[in-house]
């Protein structure tokens, strides 16, 4: 079953905007509603939209199996690395050693009511990025394997 031209054009126009919105949700996870899981699920929805509109062979340049598997591995390694970073600095496992340190995401939170600064919260944004990359790869590869198995059986 081949999708119509309207669906295919709409999917390829919408895909970059969905990816940008998902990355925004991941990046602002410690300030606004949402976080790693929600943003990763949004991006995986964009990949699923492409996979439904086209066949798996046509979009091998945009959504690739090896990239998605690498993303899963990278996300898990980054998450456990953020946990071990606390042990390296001589603090408990998963301790927030980067907060208020002046390094990456280390700015102190301003007092009083304010909209929030992106460069705060220490380890939390790194964990959000790790979970986001991992969920993106995991949920997209589920849909991708489902589709490619169906296409190989010639339905």
């Amino acid at each position: 079953m081949r999708m119509s031209k309207i669906v295919r054009t709409g999917a390829s126009i919408l895909y970059p905007f969905i990816v940008i919105f998902g990355l925004y949700v991941i990046m602002h996870g410690h300030l606004t509603p949402g976080g790693g899981f929600q943003g990763g699920a949004v991006i995986a929805t964009g990949a699923a939209l492409l996979l439904v509109a086209f066949s798996a062979g046509e979009i091998s340049g945009m959504v690739r199996k090896s990239t998605l598997m690498g993303q899963e591995t990278l996300g898990l390694l980054l998450f456990i690395g953020a946990g071990i970073l606390g042990l390296i600095m001589g603090a408990p496992f998963f301790a927030n050693v980067l907060a208020n340190s002046g390094l990456l995401f280390g700015q102190a939170v301003l007092p009083g009511p304010n909209p929030g600064e992106l460069n705060t919260a220490g380890v939390l944004p790194i964990m959000n990025i790790a979970v986001g990359v991992e969920v993106w790869g995991g949920l997209a590869i589920v849909v991708m394997y489902l589709l490619s198995t169906i296409e190989r059986e010639g339905a």
């Binding site: 949700v25 509603p33 929600q38 699920a41 949004v42 995986a44 929805t45 849909v143 489902l146 339905a155």
Partner: protein, 84 residues
Amino acid sequence: MIESIVHVLVLVGLVASALMVYFFKDLLAAALAAGFFSFLISLEFYILQAPDVAISQAAIGAGLTTAIFVIAIRATTRFEEDTP
């Protein structure tokens, strides 16, 4: 006032789309009605001040589940048989 009107509209739409899923013979239309049900559920979560859950529900329920249903319909038949 306007908030309770929207609330009642969402609840009526939930019941209507759930009935649509049951009565449609075209399975693609039924899958899209299930996706619309999930979208209304996420709107309800947002009205009840849980935006976190609303984003998850909109992405997983309305997006990924519908995509999986559409792929499954693509591999099987589109119309439901009359005899069980």
